[in-house]
Structure formats: structure tokens, C-alpha cells
């Protein structure tokens, strides 16, 4: 029998038609939408006289441009307000479930999907947002699409794409103290580069991956796109089932048993040949931070910025341009550099475990005076848990304040913008020029590293505070 990878199994089960020398007609189980990439899709859908074919397969939430304070008031920015209002109208008109601002399950689309149990193993999931890859943590094929494709899914529940090539990244071994899943993924991207995954769908495997919690797995799959990969996934296991059990939209009773029996078959056959494989050792991974303007430009927090040795002319030019933007020099050490802002949040690291590790770290300490801190929960659910567990109080005692859920400074479409020229150490996923506001300088790192920076005011390896360290599970 032909050996199949997990990716093959899910993909092949969703192909309605294969066009010779063309794409597959690919069925989508779940479609997430938000206020920014859906309005034009709805507009074009209506212009062509089409309807949403299966409205119950789409779920909406406004997250990208919403304010993170005073969410109960009218949104001040006129254009943002229009997009959110348009989303409400469109959902109502087309019968799409909406988790609106201020309601119990509002939040970043990639945080609420898993939290509600909407995301389940074996599914195909798309959203007009590249970090849809987050859902791959559950053993799904999940990826970002453009607005034309959002319209396709509305009209036909399908998109047309050629199957990606398959890559497997295996990380074996045990992570050291103070080293998190964010460090694993920043380490991998630094090895493979920001374009090294282009054309591939990645399966993550190995003992260091299966030891991770669901939330930590989501952090890894989330950033697959930062290597250029279409998405990433991890085979479902007991950790996955445990997480999903009892969630609002997860199957119940007999249905649950049936579902789990099926989910257990979702794994790569032994002996499957991948188009490309990489192997890493967890023991080689240390706390990581980026110094440049793409996520592949990462080093150990205790390391130095690479020199230009061995680069050709055009590489050299792009590299120096990037470092100029950041105000850094080749060969420099990063430790001890003064930072102005920290951001904890986003669909990469805005979940409860992230807030827990930050709170545990800063407990009994004080925020550095030079730091402005934005801590933004990924969802209302996360916010509620943070209040219940006393995290909010711990944060406040240390001089921080928890804001309200949304994408916030991850892409700075709302008011949470890092001013031009200022440095931000951020738990989000992109350090592109201007990503966090025009002229902003972003360094990506784990929540623990961000917490260490928030306390010292400068770039710091969290392991310098060894007694506060909590082992990520």
C-alpha cells in the first residue's frame, strides 16, 4: 500500500476534482473570517448574485483593527468602525455566526477557534489571514487565503489550489529551562530562512514537539508561514484529545468516541518519504531573539548579530539596509541594549499559558521605568481566566496592565502603534519594517524573554533569573 503522510491523508480526503496540469478543487470544512479581508469578498459575492453556500461552516469575529481599551464604546477610528459594522451587517444578512466585540467568545480568530473546539483534527480550515496555520497544531490542514478565495469559499465552500510539497521537521530531545516553543520556532526559521519553506506544507514531529502542550504547539504551527511554508501541522494525540474534550463545539457522547477513533488514524505512515526533511536537537536551542526585518534574522539572545562574511553583493545590500533600519551593526552583541516597548499578545503568544509564564516571571518585581508595556489577551476567555487566576493582579502589582482582546500591536491597525525609531520586544510573529507602526523596530522573542526585558529594560536572557523559571510543558 502507498505510504501516506498525515498531510496527504487529510488533503486527499478533501479533493472533489483534480484538474490535469492545474489545481485541485479542494473542500473546506471550516472558514474563519474577520473584518479586514471579508468586506470586499462579500461585496463581490453579492455583485455576482451569489449566496453563501453553507453559512454554518463560516465563523466570524472582529479582531484586526479593534481598540484594546474601551471596547464597550463606539470605535473612534471611522474606517475601523465601518469595517466592523460591515462585518456585522454581512454576517446577519448571510446567516454567519459572529462572535462580536464584548461578547463571551470574542477574540483573535486563531485563538477562539481552538478555544471553542471548532478546530478539530482532520479538518481543512482557511481564513483570510496567513496565520491560519495556527490550527495545524490539531492535525488539520489550515492556511491563509486571499480575498478572492474568501469569496470562493463563500460561494462554493471550495478553493482551487495545487497540493503543496511535503516537508518534515523533527525536533528530538528535551528543552532546557527557560526555553519555550517560541524559541524552537525562531530557531528553526533562523536555520531554514524566511523563504526556505516556500512551496511546502510542514509536519512537525519528534519528542520535543510531542512533549508540548496544545498552546505551545499552536505557537509553532502559527509561525510556519514565516518560513514561507503554506502551513504546518502536528499529528493529533492524547494531548490534543484531552484539550478538546468538553469544549463547546467538540463532539459529545457517542459522537466523541467515534471522532477520537477516527482522529487516532490521523498520522503519517511509517516509511513515508518526504520531499524534504530536517532534524534538530532540542539541546541546541536557547532563548532566541530577532535583530532584523524578517523572522529568519534571529540569533540566541546571548549571541551576536552575524557579520557580512560570505555574502554576495545583493545579499549584503539587503542585509545592511535591514540592519540600518533597526539601528544595529553587523557583529554586535544584543544583550544589554535598551528597549522602549514590550508587547505580549497576538495569535502566536496571547494565550493563557503565555500570560501565566509572564505573570510568574514578574511576580514580586517591578517593571523598568523606560518600558511601556502592552499586554493583550488573545480572547475574552483568556482575559476571564487571567482575572480568575489572579494574573491580572500580579501584573498590576508589577506595574503592568492587561488590555482588552484583539490583534493590537501585532499589526498596529488600531491605536497600539510603536512610535517611529523605538524598539519593541514582542511576542508576535513579524518584525517587518513598520509592522508595529511606521518606523517601529521590532524584535521577536518568547513571552519569558519579553518578561525579562520588561523587568530589566534591556535585552536580557530570561535564564539570568534562573530561580523564576518555569518549565514550559
Amino acid at each position: 500500500m502507498e505510504k501516506k503522510s498525515l498531510f496527504d491523508k487529510i488533503w486527499d480526503a478533501h479533493v472533489i476534482q483534480s484538474i490535469p496540469d492545474g489545481p485541485d478543487v479542494f473542500f473546506i470544512d471550516k472558514h474563519f473570517i474577520h473584518e479586514v479581508t471579508s468586506p470586499v469578498a462579500f461585496l463581490n459575492l453579492e455583485k455576482r448574485g451569489n449566496k453563501v453556500m453553507f453559512p454554518e461552516r463560516t465563523v466570524a469575529t472582529p479582531d484586526h483593527n479593534v481598540p484594546t481599551i474601551d471596547q464597550d464604546k463606539t470605535i473612534k477610528d471611522q474606517l475601523s468602525r465601518m469595517q466592523v459594522e460591515r462585518l456585522r451587517e454581512n454576517c446577519k444578512r448571510h446567516g454567519v455566526e459572529l462572535h462580536d466585540l464584548g461578547t463571551d467568545h470574542h477574540g483573535i480568530v486563531h485563538v477562539i477557534g481552538p478555544e471553542l473546539g471548532i478546530t478539530q483534527p482532520g479538518m481543512t480550515i482557511v481564513c483570510g489571514d496567513s496565520h491560519t496555520s495556527t490550527h495545524g497544531a490539531f492535525g488539520t490542514i489550515a492556511f491563509g487565503i486571499g480575498t478572492s478565495e474568501v469569496e470562493m469559499v463563500f460561494a462554493t465552500q471550495c478553493i482551487m489550489q495545487a497540493k503543496a510539497k511535503k516537508m518534515r521537521i523533527t525536533v528530538d530531545g528535551e528543552l532546557g529551562k527557560g526555553i519555550t516553543s517560541k524559541d524552537i520556532i525562531l530557531y528553526i526559521i533562523a536555520q531554514i530562512s524566511a523563504s526556505g519553506g516556500t512551496g511546502y506544507f510542514i509536519e512537525y514531529a519528534g519528542s520535543a514537539i510531542t512533549a508540548l502542550s496544545m498552546e505551545a504547539r499552536m505557537t509553532i504551527c502559527n509561525m510556519s508561514i514565516e518560513m514561507g511554508a503554506r502551513g504546518g501541522l502536528i499529528a493529533p494525540d492524547e494531548t490534543t484529545f484531552e484539550y478538546l474534550k468538553g469544549k463547546q463545539y467538540a463532539p459529545k457522547g457517542e459522537e466523541w468516541d467515534k471522532a477520537v477513533a477516527h482522529w487516532k488514524t490521523l498520522k503519517t505512515d511509517e516509511g513515508t518519504v518526504f520531499d524534504l526533511e530536517y532534524h534538530y536537537n532540542a539541546e541546541d536551542i536557547e532563548p532566541m531573539i530577532t535583530y532584523g526585518t524578517n523572522p529568519g534574522m534571529g540569533v540566541k539572545v546571548k549571541g551576536n548579530i552575524p557579520t557580512t562574511d560570505g555574502m554576495n553583493d545583493s545579499e549584503n545590500k539587503s542585509y545592511i539596509k535591514s540592519l540600518d533600519y533597526m539601528g544595529f551593526k553587523p557583529g554586535e552583541s544584543l544583550q544589554g541594549k535598551k528597549i522602549d516597548y514590550v508587547f505580549v499578545g497576538s495569535c502566536t503568544n496571547g494565550r493563557i499559558e503565555d500570560l501565566r509564564s509572564v505573570a510568574q516571571f514578574v511576580k514580586g518585581k517591578k517593571k523598568a521605568d523606560n518600558i511601556t508595556a502592552w499586554i493583550v489577551p488573545g480572547s475574552r476567555e483568556v482575559e476571564k481566566m487571567a482575572i480568575k487566576e489572579g494574573i491580572v493582579q500580579t501584573l498590576e502589582e508589577a506595574g503592568f496592565k492587561l488590555r482588552q482582546p484583539g490583534c493590537s500591536a501585532c499589526l498596529a491597525m488600531n491605536d497600539d502603534k510603536i512610535p517611529s525609531g523605538k524598539y519593541a520586544v514582542s511576542t508576535s510573529n513579524r518584525n517587518f519594517e513598520g509592522r508595529q507602526g511606521p518606523g517601529s523596530r521590532t524584535l521577536l522573542a518568547s513571552p519569558l524573554t519579553v518578561a525579562a526585558v520588561a523587568i530589566t529594560g534591556v535585552i536580557t536572557d530570561p535564564r539570568d533569573f534562573i530561580e523564576e523559571l518555569v518549565q514550559e510543558k
Binding site: 470544512d29 479581508t37 478565495e149 545583493s314
Partner: protein, 196 residues
């Protein structure tokens, strides 16, 4: 019919040699607030094109009157990052119909094909050749022929063929898009869904 048909394009070229140009540079997030697909061209490469006061930066290629044309010649790994189709809308709206690079990011390339901007992947060597030719003489023209799948530097006759699958090729030639195709499969789709 979703967009203009595209068969042969002969045009001058605008060169942008930076590598790893991501979609946040092509169109910064703060310009994604429209609810219609119009007017994005004004904000194409916004932060490279204009300073904080909104004055054009003289050293950016789109502000340099020496260069014009419907073909954008881009550096390696063009269009990485966000899946925002707005990036391609901005490129289209500005007046480009074709982007040439030695390497494209995946989602970006897909988005291009969906709205009728042709992404042409060339070898690094041919890309260098194009950059040098345009640098030496901004008036040189390039011809892109979808039917023959060739890209030709007209001043020297140097040419290369490029890949495009026959389905997308037909779409570009006829100005059809995927939705036209999918709507014809409605019954199969309903059947498939019912068996889920």
C-alpha cells in the same frame, strides 16, 4: 468574466531590486481599512514612497520619472508575509500587470493569478540580466507572451521560458477566474458536503 484578458504584454520595466519585500511593505496594514477594492494604488509601497509628511521620497524608484511601465521587476522572495490580497490590488491598481522575480512567496503568487496579475518566475541569471539592462537603459522593453510562455528582453533578444499551469494559463488568456469554474461544479460540491 473577472478581469481583463492577457495575451502579450510589451512594456518598459520598473526595477525594484530589494530582496524579501514583504506585503507589509507593498501595502502597510493601516491602509487595509477599505470596504471596497478601489484606490489602493496610491498607497503602494507607501512608506518607501512617501516620508512622514507625505512628501515623495526622491530616491524611491516609483518616484523616479526615468522609470515607468506595466512590468515590475522585483528582487528575490517577493511578496512574503501576510496573505492580504490588498497587496496585489495595490500593484494592479497602480498599473502593473506583471511582476517578474527569481522567487515569489507562495500565497502572493496565488493571489496574483486570482486577480489577473501575471507572476513570472525567471532564473536568477535572467533576473540579473534584466536588472542590468534596465539600469543601463531605462527605456528597454520586455515582452511577456503567455501563450508561448516566454519573456524576452527586446533590446538583445535574450529570452527565457516560464512556467504556468495550463488551467491558470487558460484563465489568464480568457479573463476567467476560479469562481466561474467552481460555480459549474455546484452539484458535485453539494453532494460531497452531504457525505461529510
Amino acid at each position: 468574466m473577472a478581469y481583463d484578458k492577457f495575451e502579450v504584454l510589451t512594456s518598459r520595466v520598473v526595477p525594484l531590486s530589494s530582496e524579501n519585500v514583504d506585503t507589509d511593505q507593498i501595502i502597510p496594514a493601516r491602509f487595509l481599512k477599505a470596504t471596497e477594492r478601489e484606490g489602493f494604488g496610491d498607497n503602494l509601497f507607501r512608506d518607501w514612497r512617501y516620508d512622514n509628511e507625505g512628501k515623495p521620497k526622491a530616491d524611491f524608484v516609483l518616484n523616479d520619472p526615468t522609470y515607468s511601465g506595466k512590468i515590475l521587476l522585483a528582487g528575490k522572495n517577493f511578496g512574503s508575509g501576510s496573505s492580504r490580497e490588498h497587496a496585489v490590488w495595490a500593484i494592479y491598481d497602480y498599473g502593473f500587470r506583471c511582476v517578474v522575480s527569481s522567487f515569489f512567496a507562495d500565497i502572493f503568487k496565488n493571489n496574483c493569478l486570482n486577480i489577473g496579475v501575471l507572476p513570472v518566475t525567471v532564473s536568477p541569471k535572467f533576473a540579473d540580466e534584466l536588472f542590468s539592462a534596465v539600469e543601463a537603459n531605462p527605456e528597454v522593453e520586455v515582452e511577456v507572451d503567455i501563450k508561448k510562455q516566454t519573456i524576452t528582453l527586446l533590446s538583445t533578444g535574450s529570452a527565457e521560458s516560464f512556467d504556468i499551469n495550463s488551467y491558470k494559463k487558460d484563465n489568464m488568456l480568457n479573463g476567467f477566474d476560479d469562481i466561474d469554474y467552481l460555480l459549474n461544479l455546484k452539484e458535485e460540491i453539494v453532494q460531497f458536503e452531504a457525505n461529510k
